[in-house]
Structure formats: structure tokens, C-alpha cells
Point group: D3
Chain length 319, copies 6
């Protein structure tokens, strides 16, 4: 299929209800070629690397489902996220359940053609481990390590679980070791809850990451956080991610390792919006586990909106 | 049935558990005559006009169920909502599923005898479209347009959906066009989330409504909001409504068109209480969709409490 | 997109997990052109015409989701449902929520190009009313009325509800009146549960339908039912439909008007399989209401399998 | 309120949807006086006496909710359950949560005026303990012990639990000891599942009850069961009860002490219908625990239909 | 089993996943002897005394299940809750369902050996009534009344329900009457929502309790609350309890008498942490009702974390 | 802990409710030593090898929870499953999420001491892959391959998934290849539903297994099946397993790869009981996925009862 003049985008919502049609991200067309595409939602249905509740393999499906409610105009950032842009749902990347190491390779390979074509991918997880392949792909495309900006309840810099080194809780250690992220330009924000050891967060800092724990993040507020991120990241290539467990289980019950006492959705979205104007090469929203979500799918709805905020950031950056 | 001396009210909760008996609003008697009634809960089990998730037809049932927990004394406004008052559950109005236009007529007809008798109706929706018939009835009874004070995530002033003009998202445009509301005395507050078009809220303003978006509402706080509403509404007849989607899906997952990043229940109730002292001719709480609510029915519980706050406002105004 | 040599079909399930990718029926490609297509799943996300629990508008989504588990080989009918065949997911037809009459027109229009091209559509409802548009389209394509073979707890031959003539419970009366079905070649089977009136089923018979109530259907067994249908339908054009409420709520809790004491899934599938060898011009499976389904989506899973049995019937007939 | 000419009954379902109005049993009027009443649904919202999962206190509410789907005509017994009859919802009896002994007294007192007036009560439980008060009331009204015909997975003839003698598992021992049932005319059918001791069922038999275990019941079939009951009960006063755990948890997941391997709903209803022609003085359906029911409320739906079958039995007996 | 050198504690979470093994509190060993134990989680599976939704009998099971996610290090209080401490799960105390009075005796008896051995019990409810037996045990062990510090939406100082004096809403009146708490050193904080009567909270104050309603609690903030509690309680023996209904139903839907407009989990935990440094003789977290919790068990997760915060308070106090 | 005289068994259920205490299988003590043990429930919380819905890692927890309802006496087989026997809950074996191959080793190692001591293990899965380690352990202990008797909807004899050879659908191929089962003495029964290829079941047969598809199994009935198994298995060592997907999703919605049209629980239990008198060295019940189970946990309840039937088979065999 060739790209239509004016690019890809959702159908007119006044022609048929938004709950019509095969579920794609924000009702955008399902296109498997990067030609003529600027932004692509990309699912990674993988949850082998989760340490507690599984189910994130169905995260892309749930986010797509919830995203059918999204509309084009962002009233705060004042952009139409589709106008003049070409946005598609690329479908899912191949993964190998039961084999995290191979899946990271598949994710990186799957993203390569998109990045080579200059597409900005919004990755829909899957557990947080999917970020490893994503970061590898970005580093390869950028010709060097990228900055990671992450909102998450956990630093995910543990070394191993039961001898397994490829886990959703080890991803930012592996990424640093592999040189695909630049910890000195990266920031991990929102950490809270019980830890294994006093040294857990120090270990993240020893790898070079800036760690902004929950209390500090709340104290900074969106404006302070936005300034801190800009200062930290600088002008180099950067990727933005949000693990839905950064918000409280009241707002995101459907996740793998919930921690009580988290942000509200309103707060989390404020932190994302504070980054408007920054140019990210890619995004991810991870750890949506639909079987643990409520009947009204609040977690998937939040994740769909976060992905839409990412799309808006990309739109602002493209102006 | 004739009205008892002292008016209608709930049975003594110390005689039998509150979960006893046929479910009526706040355990008040089910009475189908306006004689001797001051306030009546009135269900409108209608959801044909919903644009996304249906189910609000079961909203009145769920609100009644949850309302059995309510007690008489309001510790903040310091009123007994039943003492010296006559409060009933009038049951449901007739509706025609599949026919919104006819239903609006039925709702207006159904409310007419109540308003003619001076009863203050608290309408339990149903989707937000039920407000059209309600506003028609109030305008007829008041002999002119009424002010609408609305807490909602959406302005509901679109013109049509797929060619259908009677929809839950068009109600305040239709009401303005029909002259049953006075937009210049009305206020729509709490709007947030993705819109179809940059002009969506301007269109509401062009109709004459004051629109207070989410951020502004939060900045005003309850006191500021209360002052703004008093100034806007003045002394003329007014109706107060709350669409449960003004709160976040964490607090109200069971609703038709949820938007993330909303108010907390605490905040929403604060905005309602800020209006204590104003005299409203009627109230509504809408968009409770039980099949999407959580196992503990938090949305219905919130709506029942909002209706109870309305009852308290009415009590304060009657003193 | 042009049809591939050998026709359309699902991807290799050994390359990626079946839960990968945008959800289409049985993982078949989403194709909006009838060219080169033999069988097409077609969603009709409509539930305005339901008389009790809504939600069937999300039926197509849920059936697609559950259908990802389906595999190609039918071990009882001994056919590969995809081998040598071209099967697609055509997406959803346009509908107008709140307007059943217009939706019936849209459904008929939406199916016309498929039928004109000789495609066998498997309609995924939606409430049972979607069958009216479907039957109109088939009658038009066939140049005359078609036989309807229906498994359902209800005869759906009432005349109106609250003055509305286009409802899920009136579809076979309307279809007979309009001359799009031939009642004398049609059979309605599985009726059970409380009725409005002694004459309800006689009314269906007066329209010319053969009515086989639940007890008789059980007594016939699959073989007897298959013989009865063949005898009744003859060689003319025919459409086969199954309303999931023909099975018990234990097996299909997610439906609009459940009736207890129904068939098991095993029995229902046996009745469908008994028709192997007959050539149907189209099929439908209706009344899946996901918000009332269990956490494991048993109703959607059953409906997906029924659609797959329909596909197998079509394959057998094509040999 | 005086009884209308022709008696009480549900409103016309063609005027408004069946999901309209305050929820009463089968949409019958809520009447608190026995005058002019022939059959009354009576809730007993009590679950203190349950030994495992509580929640049956909300059983009457759930059964009323599900009963709104019921229609008048019974196509198998060929009766209109409302025509020429006067049927009401009497509401709930007073109970004392936390005090089973006192509640049994309250239940008996609550039923006394109904029985004195010749009303046939259909008791909606509540846990099975509610039957003790019911049987006391019947024995008092009948001037002697009544026969109990019970479909249940458990014989409920244990002596005590943790020293408590008034429990849902002791009800038929207490009733025999008190002389309110005549075990020699009574039958307990459907027992299955693990027992505390080899002697559990022998103890029931020692009290004089006939015990028909699950396998025997299946072997008898409806006709055999009907004959056995008629022979056992004879012409004396009798009460018929069904504990929803006699069916399998697939059909009735929402119950307090589920046992796998039970009857289907179809089978259970067949056993009830086999008693058509017998004249029972009262009925009960117990052990519906809504918090454990599925989203589509299958257990409540089954119980509502069982109550409706009881109403039909009463209608047949009244001819 | 004898206490191991170094005390009891959880197994190494790097050896097997945290979701392995028989569910005990925080994966600590299940030990029924107080020897060598410093802190013990103790379940009381009782809900007979609940006035609305039952189910808290399954609270201990759900809290244990959710607690498997807990880790050792508290990053805010900077303590390892297990290091150098001996922590066990003592299992559940005997209770008598249906008999609150006897259960209070059993709870007191059950705790006696623990308190005699100097163990700090963290009681996992169960409805709030379980606190009566707990307070009796503490008063006996302390040789006089203890201070109660309680976070709760309700003051629980009513006198009786339907004639029953032992109820979850009467516990702090009974405790004061019995002299097992010292109201003049006690504080009840977080009260909100509809009351039975203007005098409800005054009655609590008349008993001697300090009552800090919701608005005042929010105004105090954690630091102010911490100071107020220290001043009130002084150096005498004290017990700290949290009823999960002090938080909003969005965060704790699974509870018996939910009240909307409550605290967030973040706020509630802040109030608990503000008491670090105080030495409590025991703790309780009550009113978790799993059948009303969401699919992801957010209420149980919150309660497990509250119990963990209690453990941390105990650790800080022990230094 | 040393074994008590008379062996291990559950506590007296008349002392405290069955829902009391830390959840162990059938309330038996949690003992980690094989000394003095005859039968042990052993959990394997592993689901990495599942090809569709995960969650079986929480299967052991859910089965233990549901098993608290079990009582000692089997009224059909007429045995007390605990009397004169020593039964414990051994807890869970170590597993490595994300690494199926290593987990199979861990399972075999974990079972070795039990089998060496002559304990009969009842394995609680976990996905079906856990059977590979179990069969290895049995073969080692038996000194040769064992017979596998399996009730399952799937033959689980595929060769690989996406290149992974250790999957829940490959277990009986691997077991045959490794020589730990003797296919010529084994029987796989209950296969139904769509297959990948015509040859799927032939492949199972080529490996030497007897395959009894669903229709044949139903035709055999329990007696025929029992005879067939006895004939097939002979006197050699044998292991009996049941995958809960052999029953219909109505009865077991909480499973990983549900197939519609399955057995009822009654039928499945009948097939298990038909093997009474055979002496199995071990048992397993697998594929319970709690996040997909209904609110009343019917799947876990069924699995708990199946495990209890296994215990009864073991008791019968021990006489």
C-alpha cells in the first residue's frame, strides 16, 4: 500500500462510531511499511520477563482497544496530533515467548527498518524488558548511546533474577552495560515502594543514572521536572518511556508489579506534558497487564492516553 | 397513598439492616404521586444516545443500590437531609430505547407533574442526553430558560453524530437552540481530554456558555468556583448537573466515555458543596454505566453520594 | 492490496505467537475489497435494538480477540478451513447508533459489494437486529427471499416494542413482511423460557416459520435436526445464524437477553455441524455482549468457534 | 393501598422497557399488606449462618434485579403465571445480622400474617438458614409439621458448627427436632461432594428424611423424581425449596458453599417442573451470593427463574 | 520448631520467585509458637460484625497473597524491616462465625501468649470488630488501658445495631466502657461521610476520644498529625490501627462500608509514616473485603503495604 | 518437624471455620520433609511455557485457596481420604520464570527426595509443561519409563513453538523422546477443537500414544474408559494427569488455552473415578490460570476437587 497524499491518519469519526472497525492504535491504518510514515505505534506482546503478575503480552491489544476513544485535538498543547502528519499502526513485532534474550534481538531487528526510515516509533508493551531491544535499535540508528527518560516506580537496574539476566527489572543495567544508553544523560524518575536492599538505588546511580525518587519528583512538579530533564538530556538523541506502575494501582490496577502510594494519572500526564518541545526519537509505554485491569479497562485507557501524549510531543517537536 | 404527617422519608436504620428491602433511593418510599413531596429521586434508564460504552440504562438501578448506605446527617453542611423534609423515590420515567427524540419528550412529560407540584427532582441517569427532556420541563415550569450548571469532562455541545442530532454529546447545543437553557447564565466546568477539533470549546462559548476547563477549575478551587457560579447564574432558575466522567476513571470507571486525568471524588464533592446556599430547581447525576463499574460499584457509590449532596443543597436552600 | 496467489489466509502461527498483531478474525488479513475473496468475516457493531442488556456493539471486537486462538484443521469435518481458500476480515460495516432503521439500510448496502462478488460473509454481531439488513442483502443478491435457519432461544417475531418496529426481537417478522426471507423454507430452533403470551410462538408459525422448541430440538438430536433442516430448506438460497443465547448462560453469560436452561456449547456445535454439506450463502453469530462476559471471555470464545464452524461448513460446501 | 380489581401483577412490558422502575420481583408491585394477595415474593437478606462464602444477604436484591427479565407465559406448563392471579413483592423481612437465633424468630413472625391470610410466600434467601423460620411459620399455620422437599447439594443436617447450633448446615436437623417438619414425609435430593464423615447422610436418614443422592437423582430423572416426591409427601402440607448449589458452579458460581460436578440448570428446572400439580404452601430459593456471581449474574438469573417456576407451580395448583 | 539463630524472616527472593510457596505474610515462616519471635502477623478471619458488605473473613488470605510482593528495605524510613529482627506469620486466631461476643473472647485469648512473650502482633482483619479482642488483650498485658490511634472513615462509637451490641461500628464505645482503651490518650482520625445523627461524633468525644475529621486531618498534614498523636498518646502503651475505608474507594474498593471522598493511599501512608519513632505495642489493618476488591486486588495490596509500614514502625522503634 | 503419630492431616474443622489459617492444600500441614509422609501436594508455580493466556503461575495459590472447602469423606468411593493416612502440603518447588529448560530440571530435582521416600506427589500446576520434570523424576525413581494417563483437550505433542522446544504443547513429545514415558502404555484422552494440521493427532499416535478423542471418550463413558486405561497401562508404573481445559470453559474459564465444547465437570470427575483401584505413582492437575477465572473461582474449585479425587484414588489403592 502506498502512502496517501497528506499521510496516514484515522478515519472520520463522524462517519461511523469510534468503536467500529478492526482495533488499531487511535484508529490509524494498519500499515507494515515505513514508507511515508512519520509516527508508528508498534506493539511488543511480550511478558516472559515479568517477575510477578504476567499478562502484559495482551497489553498492545488492550491499548489499541482503549485508544479508539482518542480524538485529534490536544487542548493543552494546542496541536492536532494527526493534522499534517502521517501516523500508522505498524502492528506487532515478532517475539519469542519464553526466550527474553532472543526477543530483545527480534525487537531491535523489528524496529530497524522504521528507524532507518526516520519513523518515530511509539512502542506499546509488553513488560518493561521490551525497552532493551528498543534502546539497542535506537543506539544503532543514532550511532551511539541514547538518553533514556523514564517514569517508573522501579529503577529496573537489578542484575539478575534467579540467575536470569534478561528480565524486566534488569533492563537499564543491561542497557548501560551494552552501551546503548548514556546513563550520564539519562534520568529515572518516580521510584517508590519497598526495595530489596539499601543499595538498590545507589546501584542505579553508580551506573551513572540520575534517580529522582517519588518524593523528589512530587516536590519538583512538572515545571521543575521538565527543566531537570532538559538539562540532563541536552541535545543528544533521547527516548522517553513510561511504566504504568509509576501511577497508583487505583489508576493502573492492571500491571505486573504494582506499588501503592503512586502518582495520580493527572500528575503523571503533567510530567509527560512538561517535556513538550523536546524531540524524542522514540517512546514506550509498558507494563499494562489486561487480566488484572478493572472492567472498564482504566489502565489500558491511561496507557492509550499516554501514547497519545507522546504523539502530541512528537507533533510539537515537528513544528 | 397519602403523604404521612411530617412527610416521607427513610425507615429507621436501627430496625433492620440498610441492605434490607426493595432498593429505592436512600431507602425512601417509592411514591408515584407528587402530593406532599418536596424532593424526588427520578430515574431515567436510557442509554441509546451514548457514543461509546453503553450501560447507563442500568444507572438508576445501581445508584439506588449504592444509596442504601446513605445516612441522614451531613457533617460538613450540618443538615439532616431528611429531617422536616419529604423525600421520595418516584421510580423511573418512561423511555423508548432506540428513540432519543421520543424519549426527550417522555422525560419532559414525566417531570411535568412533579415540577407543577413544586417538587425538586433529582434525576438519576441514564446517559447525559436525559438532561434535554429535563431542561425542557424546567423551562416550561419556569416560564423561560433556566441556567445550567454542569460539571463534566465534555462540553456536550457538538452538533450531531453520524447525522443523529439527539445524542449525549449534543445536549447543551440542542438545549440552547431550543431556548430551554440560558447559556449566558450557564457554566460548563471540568472539560479535559482530547477533542475533535480546536474549535470544539469555542463552539460552546459561541453558544453563550461559560466554559471552565479542568486546569482553570482546579485553579479556582471550590471557593472560587462557588463564587463564579453565583455570579454567573444570578437569581434566576437554575439546574445543577454532574456527569460522573468529570472525575477520573480511578474513581468512576463505570461510565460511557471515560477521560483520564480527572478530578478526585474529594475534589468533585468539594465543588458541589461550594454551591451550598444556592437554590436549584432540579439536579441530575448522569453517565453511570454499571457493567463497566468495579466489583465494589465505586461509580454508583459516588453517584449516590452526589445525589445525596444535591439533596443536602436542597435542604440548605429550603431553610 | 491485490489478492495474493492462493488467496488470503492467516499468517504462520509458528513464526509468532497467536496473540500477536492487530486483532482480525482468525488472524486473517484485514482487506476492504472483495476481489479475490471467498469468505469474509464482517463485523456489525450495533446494539441499539437490544431490549435488555446492551454491549453487543463490542461483540465484533471480542469475537476477533477470541478468534486468535483458532487453528486451521477441523478434526471432525476433516477440513483445513484455510487451505486452498481465501479468507479475510473485511472489518466492520457502517452503522448508526440510535437509529436501527437506518442501520438496516447501511448493513444491506455494506454487504452488497461482497455478495455481488460471490463472497460468503460471516456476520459478527451486534444484536440480532443486524440480521435484517443481512437478509435484505441476501434476498437482493439471490433475486428472491432466502431461507433462514436460526438457532436461538427466542423466535424474534414480535411486532414492536414500545412502538418501535425495528428491534432485535422483531427481526424475523420484519424479514417475513418484507419478503426477504421465505418462512416456508425457514426454521427457528431452540426456543425456550418465559414468553409474553401463549400466542408468541403461534405467531411465528402463522408467519410461516417452522418453530422447533428446545425440548423438540434436544429430542431430534444433531442428526434429526440436520435432516429436518435439509428437508425444510431444500435447494434454494439459505442463511444460517446462531444467537448465542441459544446456549445456557453458563456457557454464554455475555449476552443481552439470557435465558436459563439452555443448550451446552457441545450440543450447539453439534447442531451446527449436522448441517455439513449444505451450502449457505451467508452466516451470522450474534448477541455477544462483552461487558457481561466472564473474565476469560467464554461467550466470545464460543462465538469465535461458531464462526469457525461456519467457515468449515463453507469449506465443506465448496469441495 | 387496596388490592386492585383482578389482583396485583406486573405492568405492561410494552409501555416501558423491563429494566425500568424500582426493582421488585418480576416487576410486581411492592405491597406490604397481605390483603388481596395470592402469592408474594419475600426477601430474607441474611447470611450470618453461612459457613464459607458470605454475601447471600444481597441475594434478594440480585434475584429481584434478574427477575425483571421474566415474562408471563410458561410454554411448557402452559400457564400465564399472572393471569387471574394476584402476585406482589412483599419486600424483605426484618433480620438481625450476627444473630441467627433471633432472625429465625423474626422470619417466622414476618411470615405469620401472610400465611394467616392464605398467601403463598416465595422466600428469596439469604442463606439456607432462613428456611428454619419459614418452616416454623408454616408448621404454625398448618397446625402441625410440614413436609420439606429440598433440592440441595448438602443435607444440612449437621448438629453444630464451632458450638453454634443455628447455622445454614443445621437447618433440617433443627427443624426436625423442633417438630416443624415431618421428616417421614420429606425428601432431601441432590446431595454430592465431600462430606465430613461416612455417617453424615445416615444421620439425615436417622432423623427420618429420605435422602436421594446426586447419582440416584440423575437416575430417577424428572418423572421418577416427581413420582417419588408425590408418594413421599402425600396430601399433607408441604414446602418446596431449592438451594442453588444443587446446580454446578458453572451455572451458579455465586453461592456460599459450591460443590463441583452438579446438575445443569436444565436438569434442575426439569426436577422442579416434575412437581407440577402438587400444591405447596410455600417455596424458597436460597444461597445466592452476588459478590461471587459472574458479571452477567447467572446465579441470580437462575434463582429468579426458579422462583418463577415456583410461581408457575402455584398457578397450576390453583386451577 | 525452634527459632533459628538470627530470628525468623523471609526466604531469599533471588532463589525462587516471590509468588512461590504457601502464602504467608511477607513470605515469613508460619510459626505457631511465640518463642524467639519479635513481630507476628496474626489473621482474624471474622466478618459477622459487619453492617453492610461482608467478606472480610477472607481479608487475611488476601493480605497474605498481596504481601508476597513486599521487599525488605524501606527507602523513606531507611530500615530493613527484617534485618536483625525475627518476624513470623502466626496464622489465624480461632473465631466463631455468627457469634461476635465469643469471638472477642477468642481473639483476646489467642493474642495472650504472644503478648506475654513480648511479641508485637500485627493483626490482619477481619472487620473492625476484631479490634475489641485485640484491645482487651493489650490492656490485660499492659496492666491497664491502652491508647488507640485509629485512621478510619468512621468513629465506630455507636451503641448498638438492631439490638446487637457487638458490632464493627460499636468497637470503640465497648472498648471505652470496658476500660481497655484510655480515650483521653486516644485519637480517632479521618472521619467523613454521612452520619446517622448530628450527635454521632459528639458521642465519640463524650466518651473521651479526640476526633479529627477528614478536613482537619488533611489540614494537619502528616507532620501535624504526627505531632498531635505524640502529644495525645504520651508515653503510655498504645496500639495503632487503620481501617482501609479511610482511603477512597478508588484505592480501596474492597471494603465493607465504603465512603467516597477519602484519602489517597499516598496520603494515608504519609500519616502512618509520620508516627515513626513511636513505640506501639500492636497494630491492626482491618476491613479488607476481597470479594469486592478489583481484579488486581488493590485493597489487599494497600493493606499489605500498611502492615509492612507497621512493621517498619516497629523496626524503627526497636532501634 | 517430626511426623505426628498417625500421620499428618488437616485440623478439626469444627474448631475453627475452614476459611481460617494459612492456605495449604486441603488444610493439611505445610511440611518440607518427606519423613512420615504418604501423599504430598506440591505446587509448581510456572507459566513461562504457555502459548496463549498466562497466569498459571498463580495456579497453586488458587487451588490451595479453593481446597479449604474440602472435607474428608468420599461418598462415592467410600473412603476417608485422610483417615489412617499422612497427607501434607509440601509447598512449591523452585522454578525459574523465563527458563523452561532449567525449570524442568528443578522440578525433577525437587520431586526426587519425595519419590525416594515413597511419597505420592500430587502436583498442582502451573502450565502443562511442569509435567516434563515430573515425568523425569518418576522415570528416574521407577528405573524406567512410566505410563502417562492424561485427560486434556490437547495432545501436547507438537515439536516446537517459534523455535522453542520446551513448551506446554510439546511436553509429551519431549517425554517420549527422552524415554521418560512409555507411550505404548500411555493414553491421551479428550482431544477436541481446532488443530494446526490434519497430522497433529497422527503425530501423537506415531510417537506411540493411544489417542482417544473427545467423541470417543464420551462414547466410552467412565466404565469403558476405565477398562481401556487398565488394559493399556497394565501393571507398570503410571502417572495420572488432568489438564483443566479438558472440561468446557463454562466449568473452567480460568485456563490458558480454552477450547469450547468440552466435558462437564461431572463427566470429567466420572472419568477420574473410573480409575479407582489403579495404583498411580503420582498425579498432576494443571493449567489453572486464576486471572481468567470467574469471581467465584470455579476453575480452582474444580482443580482442588480433582486433586482430592486423586487423593481418594491413592487412598483406595493403598487399602
Amino acid at each position: 500500500m502506498t502512502s496517501p497524499a497528506g499521510g496516514y491518519g484515522p478515519p472520520d469519526a463522524s462517519a461511523a462510531p469510534r468503536y467500529s472497525g478492526v482495533r488499531t492504535f487511535a484508529r490509524c491504518p494498519h500499515v507494515r511499511s515505513p514508507a511515508g510514515v512519520e509516527v508508528a505505534a508498534v506493539g511488543v506482546p511480550f511478558d516472559t520477563a515479568t517477575s510477578f503478575r504476567p499478562g502484559a503480552r495482551f497489553g498492545p491489544e488492550a491499548i489499541r482497544s482503549a485508544s479508539s476513544l482518542l480524538r485529534p485535538w490536544h487542548p493543552v498543547l494546542e496541536v492536532d496530533v494527526f493534522a499534517g502528519r502521517s501516523v500508522v499502526d505498524y502492528g506487532d513485532l515478532d517475539v519469542t515467548p519464553g526466550n527474553a534474550e532472543r526477543t530483545a534481538v527480534q525487537v531491535a531487528e523489528g524496529l530497524r527498518p522504521l528507524l532507518a526510515a526516520g519513523v518515530v516509533p511509539i512502542v506499546l508493551g509488553g513488560d518493561h524488558f521490551v525497552a532493551l531491544g528498543e534502546l539497542r535499535a535506537h543506539a544503532e540508528a543514532a550511532g551511539g548511546p541514547v538518553a533514556a527518560v523514564v517514569l517508573d516506580a522501579h529503577a529496573d537496574t537489578w542484575d539478575q533474577y534467579y540467575g536470569e539476566r534478561f528480565f524486566h527489572g534488569t533492563v537499564f543495567r543491561r542497557a548501560a552495560e551494552e552501551g546503548v544508553v548514556a546513563p550520564e544523560r539519562s534520568i529515572l524518575a518516580g521510584m517508590r515502594g519497598p526495595l530489596y536492599d539499601r543499595g538498590d538505588l545507589d546501584a542505579a546511580r553508580s551506573l551513572g543514572y540520575e534517580v529522582v525518587v517519588d518524593a523528589e519528583l512530587r516536590a519538583l512538579g512538572p515545571a521543575g521536572f521538565g527543566a531537570r530533564v532538559r538539562e540532563r538530556v541536552g541535545d543528544g538523541p533521547a527516548v522517553l518511556g513510561l511504566d504504568v506502575d509509576v501511577v497508583d494501582p487505583a489508576f493502573a490496577p492492571g500491571t505486573g508489579t504494582p506499588e501503592v502510594g503512586g502518582l495520580t494519572s493527572f500528575e503523571a500526564i503533567g510530567f509527560v506534558r512538561s517535556l513538550a518541545g523536546m524531540r524524542f526519537r522514540g517512546f514506550n509505554v509498558v507494563e499494562v497487564s489486561p487480566p488484572y485491569d478493572g472492567p472498564g479497562q482504566p489502565t489500558a485507557l491511561l496507557a492509550a492516553n499516554v501514547a497519545w501524549e507522546f504523539l502530541a510531543l512528537s507533533t510539537v517537536a515537528s513544528r
